[in-house]
C-alpha cells in the first residue's frame, strides 16, 4: 500500500468480559480524511484510545509510517506525530487560549529543566511564542488569546482544542466527535476548516463523527463498526447505500 500513514491490524480491546473492539483492521493513507462511524457504544472512542496509547490493546498491532507504536505511551505517540482531540472537551482550564496552545510546544523543546528555569532558552521560548501567535492568527483566534480557554463559547472551545493539537506538529490528526453540540452552520464551517488545515498543514485526518452530513461531505473513505466489529468500508456514497449500515442504524434499536 502506498504512502500508508496509519495501519491497524487485528486490533482487539477487552475489558473484563466485554469486547469493545473486536479484531478490527484499517489503513489510512497520506492526505486522506477517513471517518469512523457507528452507533453509540460501538467502540469508536475505544479504538481511538487504543491507537493513541491511552489503552493498551489486548491484541493486535498499530503502526505509524511503518513504525510499530503498539504499547507506547500517549506522549510517545504524540511525539511520533499523532495528535488528538477529545469527545468531551479537555482544555487546560486554568490557562488562557494562548497558554493552551503554547503548552503544546513543550513537546518540541530542546531546553532542559535548568536552562528553562534560568531563562537560558530565551531564544527558544521566543520562537514558541511567535509560532503560537502565528498559529492563532491563522485560525482567527488571535483576538481571544488572553481569554481563559474555558470561558470561550462552546464552538470556539472545540476549535481551540483542534488548534492545540495542531500546535504539537502532527502528521496524523485524530478528531473525536468535533461537531458534537454544534449547530448546522457551525458544523459546515468546521467541515471547511478541517479541509483547510489538511492542506495547510499537510495532514492526514482520522475522524469520529455522528453528524452524517459532515462525514459524507469531507470524508474520502469511511469505516463503519458495530459492537466493535467492522461492518462496512468504502467511499461515502457506497456507505450511504450499504444495507448492513442502514440496518445497524435503524434496526439496532439505536435512536439517531
Amino acid at each position: 500500500m502506498k504512502d500508508n500513514v496509519l495501519h491497524i491490524e487485528n486490533l482487539t480491546m477487552q475489558f473484563g468480559g466485554v469486547v469493545a473492539v473486536d479484531n478490527f483492521s484499517m489503513d489510512i493513507n497520506k492526505g486522506e480524511i477517513v471517518a469512523l462511524i457507528g452507533p453509540n457504544g460501538a467502540g469508536k472512542t475505544t479504538a481511538f484510545n487504543a491507537v493513541t496509547g491511552v489503552y493498551l490493546p489486548t491484541s493486535g498491532r498499530v503502526t505509524l509510517n511503518d513504525e510499530n507504536i503498539t504499547g507506547l505511551r500517549p506522549d510517545q505517540i504524540t511525539a511520533r506525530g499523532i495528535a488528538r482531540t477529545f469527545q468531551n472537551i479537555r482544555l487546560f482550564s486554568s490557562m488562557t487560549v494562548f497558554e493552551n496552545v503554547l503548552t503544546a510546544h513543550h513537546l518540541r523543546r530542546t531546553s532542559n529543566l535548568f536552562s528553562a528555569t534560568f531563562r537560558l532558552n530565551a531564544m527558544e521560548e521566543k520562537r514558541m511564542r511567535e509560532d503560537t501567535d502565528a498559529l492563532l492568527k491563522k485560525v482567527d483566534l488571535y483576538d481571544l488569546k488572553d481569554e481563559m480557554a474555558v470561558s470561550l463559547p462552546y464552538g470556539k472551545q472545540r476549535l481551540l482544542e483542534i488548534v492545540r493539537a495542531l500546535a504539537s506538529g502532527p502528521k496524523l490528526l485524530l478528531l473525536d466527535e468535533p461537531a458534537a453540540g454544534m449547530n448546522p452552520q457551525e458544523t459546515d464551517e468546521l467541515g471547511e476548516f478541517i479541509k483547510r488545515i489538511r492542506t495547510e498543514f499537510d495532514l492526514t485526518v482520522f475522524i469520529i463523527e455522528h453528524h452524517m452530513n459532515l462525514v459524507m461531505k469531507i470524508s474520502d473513505r469511511i469505516y463503519v463498526i458495530e459492537f466493535g466489529k467492522q461492518i462496512a468500508e468504502g467511499r461515502p456514497e457506497e456507505i450511504q447505500n450499504n444495507q448492513a449500515v442502514i440496518d445497524a442504524y435503524l434496526g439496532g434499536g439505536e435512536e439517531l
Binding site: F92, M148, R164
Partner: protein, 367 residues
C-alpha cells in the same frame, strides 16, 4: 518573562524592595528580642516550605503529604554537616563524637540538604507517583513517618545521633556581623533568611513560568489531555516532586537554623498539616498567597493570638474562657471558616502583580 516591565511588575518589584529595606532598617533600630523578628524568621522559613508544597499541590495537582519528611532530611543533613568538629563530642555524647569529623560551609550544607531531600524524593517518587490522589497522599505521609523512624534508629546513631537532639550548629544569629569584641555591628539575622527564602521562591517562580511550569499546570488541569499533548507524565511529576522536595529540604535547613536544635521527633504529620493549611489559606496555586499566609499564620500563632492563652483582666474583671489552649481553639475555628467559606483562600490563584491589573472579566466571572 517579557522584557518590557509593565506597571504591575514595577509595582511588585518596588514593594518587594521596600519590604526588604524595611526589614533591614527595623533590624538595626528595634531591639532584637522583639517577637517581630521571630515571626519574620519563622515566616520566611514557612513561606519557602509552603511555596514548595504549593508547587506540588497547587500547580501540579499532586496531593503529597510528605513535606515534613523532606524537611526532616534537610534539617538533619544541614545540621550533621555543620556542627563544628570541636563541639561534636558534646552533641554526640553517647556516640563518641559521631563518625563525621568535618564541617561544610553553611551555604554548601544548605544546598546539600536540598539535594539529599531531592534524592530521597526521586527514589520514593519512582513507585508512589503512579498512585492516584488520595493514595498518593497517604503513601507520602507514610513515607514521612518511615523516614522519621529511620533517622531515630539507634544503629545510625554515629551519624544521626539516634533520636537525640542535634545542636550547636550555625543559626540565624550567626549571620549578624560582629566586631572584634563580639558585639553585633550590623544585624542581619532576619534579613538573610528572608533573602534566602526570597531567592528560593524566586527560582520556583521562574520554574512555574517556564515551559516546564506550563507543562506542570497542564498536568494539574487534565492529565489525559496533557499526556495527549506529548507531556511525559511520570518524568514531569518526578521533576515537580524532586524540585519541591529540594526546596522543602532547604526549608528544613532553615527551620533547623531557626530552632537552633533539630530532633526527628518534631517533624510529625501535624507539621505537614500545618503547612498544607497555610497553602490552602493562601490559595492553592498562588505563590503570593502562600507567602502571605505563612507570615500571617506564624504571626497569629506565635504573636498576635498569644494573649488568648493568658488570663486577661479588663477593669478588674477576668475575661472568661481565656486560658492555656484557647489560642489554638480560636485559631482552628478561623481555619475552619476559611476552609468552608473562603475556599479560594486569600489570593485564589492571583499573584502580586495581578492586584495592580484591571480586573479581567473572564477571571472574575469564574468565582
Amino acid at each position: 518573562m517579557k522584557k518590557k516591565l509593565d506597571f504591575p511588575h514595577i509595582m511588585t518589584v518596588v514593594i518587594i524592595i521596600a519590604i526588604y529595606a524595611a526589614v533591614f532598617v527595623a533590624e538595626q533600630t528595634i531591639a532584637p528580642t522583639s517577637m517581630l523578628f521571630t515571626v519574620l524568621k519563622k515566616g520566611a522559613t514557612y513561606a519557602l516550605v509552603a511555596v514548595s508544597m504549593n508547587l506540588l499541590n497547587g500547580f501540579t495537582g499532586i496531593f503529597s503529604l510528605g513535606q515534613a519528611g523532606f524537611m526532616l532530611i534537610g534539617a538533619y543533613i544541614f545540621s550533621i554537616f555543620t556542627i563544628p568538629v570541636e563541639q561534636r563530642g558534646i552533641v554526640y555524647q553517647y556516640y563518641n563524637g559521631g563518625i563525621i569529623q568535618f564541617t561544610l560551609p553553611v551555604v554548601i550544607a544548605m544546598i546539600l540538604a536540598g539535594l539529599v531531600a531531592a534524592l530521597f524524593a526521586f527514589l520514593i517518587g519512582l513507585p508512589v507517583l503512579r498512585l492516584k490522589s488520595d493514595y498518593l497522599a497517604i503513601a507520602t505521609l507514610g513515607f514521612a513517618e518511615i523516614v522519621r523512624t529511620i533517622f531515630q534508629w539507634d544503629k545510625l546513631g554515629p551519624i544521626t545521633n539516634g533520636s537525640n537532639m542535634l545542636r550547636l550548629f550555625p543559626t540565624f544569629n550567626d549571620f549578624n556581623i560582629r566586631n572584634a569584641e563580639g558585639n553585633v555591628v550590623v544585624y542581619l539575622s532576619t534579613l538573610v533568611p528572608m533573602i534566602i527564602a526570597g531567592i528560593c521562591i524566586g527560582i520556583i517562580l521562574l520554574l512555574i513560568n517556564s515551559t516546564y511550569g506550563r507543562a506542570l499546570r497542564a498536568i494539574k488541569d487534565d492529565e489525559i489531555a496533557a499526556e495527549a499533548m506529548g507531556i511525559h507524565l511520570a518524568s514531569h511529576k518526578q521533576i515537580a516532586f524532586c524540585v519541591s522536595s529540594f526546596f522543602a529540604g532547604v526549608g528544613g535547613a532553615m527551620l533547623a537554623m531557626y530552632q537552633t536544635t533539630v530532633q526527628a521527633k518534631s517533624f510529625t504529620t501535624a507539621m505537614t498539616y500545618e503547612i498544607l493549611l497555610i497553602v490552602v489559606i493562601g490559595g492553592l496555586g498562588s505563590v503570593t498567597g502562600s507567602v502571605l499566609a505563612s507570615f500571617l499564620f506564624v504571626a497569629c500563632s506565635e504573636w498576635w493570638l498569644r494573649f488568648l492563652d493568658q488570663k486577661q483582666y479588663i477593669s478588674g474583671h477576668e475575661i472568661p474562657l481565656l486560658r492555656n489552649g484557647f489560642r489554638l481553639v480560636v485559631f482552628s475555628f478561623i481555619i475552619m471558616i476559611v476552609v468552608l467559606f473562603f475556599r479560594q483562600g486569600i489570593m485564589g490563584t492571583k499573584e502580586l502583580p495581578d492586584l495592580f491589573r484591571k480586573k479581567k472579566t473572564a477571571e472574575g466571572g469564574a468565582k
